[in-house]
């Protein structure tokens, strides 16, 4: 029974923990989409977006650093905010914001799956369900708010809307536990 561990067949399989591939690709695609969208509105902001996009891609595929990826999505979103500053095109801004949040979620999920499982693991199904759920929620939410946005609310001024949104946030925070 003296077995030879040098033998390929008896050696342990390799285990690596890179970010999950499918989620990573979708995350980068979403960041790219956000960057292109704001580029159409305000080319200046696309430069910022591009910077963030490099961070997302580099964080996921080159340096495997979650912090870099997070910073990348943050910068892409900063691009969206800057774009809003230059050109107030609600549809594009809404879409770009949605894409950058999706990129944020999938980027972090890619790291989480990579850490808890491994590159050698079959993860497509689990990842796909997560991607689908996130995109679904985002699209429904964006659709709803855009619908409400389109209704001519005479009295719904910017300050009123601010207070409304913020009150919603505070109430949400309170139900956290």
């Amino acid at each position: 029974m003296s077995y030879d561990t040098q033998d390929e067949e008896f050696a342990a399989v390799e285990v690596t923990h890179s970010p999950a591939r499918f989620s990573s690709i979708v995350a980068v695609a979403a960041a790219l989409l956000a960057t292109v969208t704001i580029g159409l509105v305000a080319p200046v902001s696309a430069l910022i977006g591009l910077f963030g996009l490099v961070g997302v891609g580099g964080g996921l595929f080159v340096f495997e650093s979650e912090r870099l990826t997070l910073a990348g999505t943050g910068i892409v979103f900063l691009g969206v905010v800057v774009a809003g500053f230059f050109a107030d095109v609600p549809e594009f801004l809404l879409f770009a914001a949605l894409a950058s949040i999706i990129s944020f979620d999938l980027g972090t999920n890619a790291f989480s799956v990579g850490r808890q499982l491994s590159d050698q693991t079959e993860t497509q199904r689990g990842e796909a369900v997560h991607v689908a759920a996130t995109v679904f929620v985002g699209v429904i939410a964006a659709g709803l708010s855009y619908g409400i946005f389109l209704i001519p609310w005479g009295a719904l001024t910017v300050p009123a809307l601010t207070f409304l949104l913020l009150s919603a946030l505070f109430l949400l925070w309170s139900i956290r536990q």
Partner: protein, 672 residues
């Protein structure tokens, strides 16, 4: 009322206030401009929102995500390499600058003892003479090495030494260089077999750093691959031993959505400040995801049904077993995010496939995991680690599900080849040739007839020619009593490489072959080990004895593939000299299996031998020769082997890459 509830109430209060203001603004369109400081107030709210958002971004970047850390059960368990202690001491001294004087003393002592052994062996002289040669520096022409032992015993030197220790760093570097030079010189003088072309200087630091970082010493592009694994120490789970079929470990908020609120706050804040409705609209998506992350449902993993099947029912150590794991969701609801890891025991290694899966299971659906493990002796039952999350991933529930599928791996005690026992005389008939004449097969002598000699042994030819009666004696063959004794102390759990079995595994594998062979030759064979747990199985014979021995190899904690420091049982030191010696039959031979990692093992062999037991040491050589510490341990081991051989003890210096049966044949030629 604790802080949490207070905070909640404050949040609700602020939210309600903001809501009332918003409703008032919508209901009475003029109110915004009517209220004094209306516009500034809105501005302040915008600024606060933006700043809070940025604060959340900062918190997120600091990384406060909480999730279960999972083990890497595929990889082999990490056992120390021989000589790691020396490398660690050198590393502590030269890099960390810790324990300089203590470590230095230990290393000096160790090297001196070794040098004395080497010089004694070469010069064939007494210890005092060897010490004199060392101190005079006559043992080598290398000045640096010769200087290591010279005059260090003088009081002035001691004082100078401690003075220079305080003064600086160069001293440590000097010591290290001298230490390395001395080790190299001892290799040369002692004629120890090592590969010569190792750049010792660089090698040590790199490989030790790699070890500290848990990296493999291979090529750079594989540096992020996981090297070794102990399930418990690499994961956040306290234990994988469960008696329950289902056990919850943790239920926690992952905080993975922490930061998503920032998208909402910054967009709404900046939108307010710049009066950009588009940005506020964009902020609503952030609000929506905040809601999504708060809506959570605990995944009902208790409804998972797990079954595990093996393709071999009674595997033997070293076998590759195909494992098929089926997971079925019978909880009645969907499990959207399942991360499954089969917590393969530390003793096993996955050689093909992957014992993990990431999937989502509808109610009633099932998934399958296939992989192949190399198994090791023992009795095992292991759980499936289930990390389940809800849709958003906000809640994570970690549980252990143990299917009713134990595995028992028992060595076969196969007869592979003959094992030479040493000549001796006992009362049982058997295979061992003795120096006694009697009944047997091989011709021994012819002697005068004594009344009562059996007729079939009378030398009729002589009777016919001379008329005198004479009797032929044959060489008597007797059975030997053999005790297989294992050195299974913590220090024996060393291995030459990550994926290599440790010395105890090598020993037990070899011993289970040898046990079968000895038994087959008709000897009485017993088993003992010196370890923290007493292990004694008296020499005996019979098929029941053989079966019990198999079970013992498989199940006894002292022979376990898991080192004592990682076992649960209460440990206490047991001295083999009292524990084994008291029970050892006076006529028993001893086969001692030990990597000879320290002097104690050699001392055990010597003492048993001096008490009249015939000792054969079978020592798997797991030493390597990359770093200075590893090279040092190799010389030390070689010195021990020579020490034992000098005293007439048979030592089989066994390189585990070679088949033991071949080595035994070679050794037999030498011993004969």
């Amino acid at each position: 009322m604790d802080l949490e509830t207070l905070l909640n109430r404050v949040l609700i209060g602020i939210g309600a206030l903001l809501f009332v203001v918003a409703v008032a603004m919508i209901a009475v369109p003029g109110i915004g401009s009517a209220v004094p400081f209306g516009t500034p107030a809105v501005f302040v709210v915008g600024i606060v929102a933006t700043v809070t958002g940025l604060g959340i971004v900062r918190r997120r970047l600091r990384g406060e995500v909480e999730e279960t850390v999972t083990p890497d059960p595929e990889r082999p368990a990490g056992n120390p390499k021989p000589g790691e202690d020396v490398d660690r001491m050198l590393y502590e001294m030269s890099v960390l600058r810790q324990g300089v004087s203590e470590n230095r003393e230990v290393l000096e002592d160790r090297l001196e003892n070794l040098a004395i052994a080497v010089v004694r062996n070469r010069e064939d002289c007494s210890v005092e003479e060897a010490r004199r040669i060392l101190e005079a520096g006559e043992w080598t022409s290398n000045e640096q090495a010769a200087g290591f032992f010279q005059g260090e015993r003088t009081a002035a030197e001691e004082a100078g030494l401690s003075g220079s220790l305080l003064s600086g760093t160069d001293d440590v570097a000097n010591f290290e260089n001298q230490f390395r030079a001395t080790v190299e010189e001892l290799i040369r003088v002692g004629d120890v077999d090592v590969s010569q072309s190792v750049d010792v200087e660089e090698e040590t630091e790199r490989s030790f750093l790699d070890q500290l970082l848990g990296r493999s010493g291979d090529e750079g592009d594989e540096s992020d691959a996981v090297d070794t694994n102990w399930n418990v120490s690499r994961s956040s789970l306290p234990t994988f031993d469960t008696s329950e079929p289902f056990e919850d470990v943790t239920l926690q908020h992952t905080n993975r959505w922490l930061g998503v609120t920032a998208f909402a706050l910054v967009a709404v804040g900046v939108g307010t400040l710049t009066f950009t409705p588009g940005l506020m609209l964009a902020g609503t998506v952030g609000v929506a995801y905040t809601i999504y992350s708060r809506v959570s449902a605990v995944p009902r993993t208790e409804g998972l049904v797990v079954e595990r099947e093996y393709d071999i029912d009674d595997p033997e150590p070293g076998d590759q077993v195909d494992v098929t794991l089926t997971v079925r969701n019978e909880s009645g609801s969907m499990l959207p995010d399942l991360r499954l890891i089969d917590a393969v025991p530390d003793e096993f290694v996955v050689t093909d496939g992957c014992p993990r899966l990431h999937t989502a299971l509808q109610s009633g659906a099932q998934a399958q995991i296939d992989y192949t493990v190399r198994v090791e002796r023992g009795e095992y039952e292991w759980p499936l680690l289930v990390v389940a999350r809800d849709f958003s991933g906000g809640v994570e529930r970690t549980s252990l599900v143990t299917p009713d599928a134990g595995m028992r791996v028992i060595p076969p005690l196969r007869v592979t080849n003959d094992v030479p026992v040493r000549a001796q005389t006992t009362q049982y008939a058997g295979d061992v040739n003795t120096k006694q004449g009697g009944s047997g097969l091989e011709f021994y002598s012819v002697r005068e007839y004594r009344p009562g000699d059996p007729m079939n042994r009378i030398n009729w030819k002589q009777v016919a020619s001379t008329g005198d009666l004479a009797t032929i004696d044959f060489r008597q063959e007797k059975a030997a009593t053999v005790t297989i004794l294992f050195d299974t102390r913590q220090s024996a759990y060393i291995s030459g490489g990550t994926d290599e079995p440790h010395a105890v595994d090598h020993s037990v594998h070899a011993a289970s072959d040898i046990f079968g062979a000895l038994y087959d030759q008709g000897n009485l064979v017993g088993i003992a080990a010196f370890d923290t747990v007493p292990c004694w199985y008296a020499p005996g014979a019979g098929s029941e004895h053989l079966e019990n021995a198999r079970m013992l190899f498989a199940q006894h904690p002292a022979l376990s593939p898991r080192p004592p420091e990682r076992q649960d049982h209460e440990s206490q030191y047991i001295d083999p000299m009292t524990h084994v010696r008291r029970r050892l039959p006076s006529t028993s031979q001893v086969f001692l299996f030990s990597p000879l990692a320290d002097d104690y093992a050699a001392e055990v062999a010597r003492r048993l031998d001096s008490e009249g037991h015939l000792v054969t040491v079978i020592s798997p050589d797991v030493t390597v020769d990359e770093t200075v510490g590893q090279r040092l341990t190799r010389i030390e081991r070689t010195a021990r082997v020579r020490y034992l051989r000098e005293r007439g003890i048979r030592v089989l210096d066994w390189n585990p890459d070679e088949r033991l049966s071949l080595e035994i044949e070679k050794a037999q030629a030498r011993w004969a």
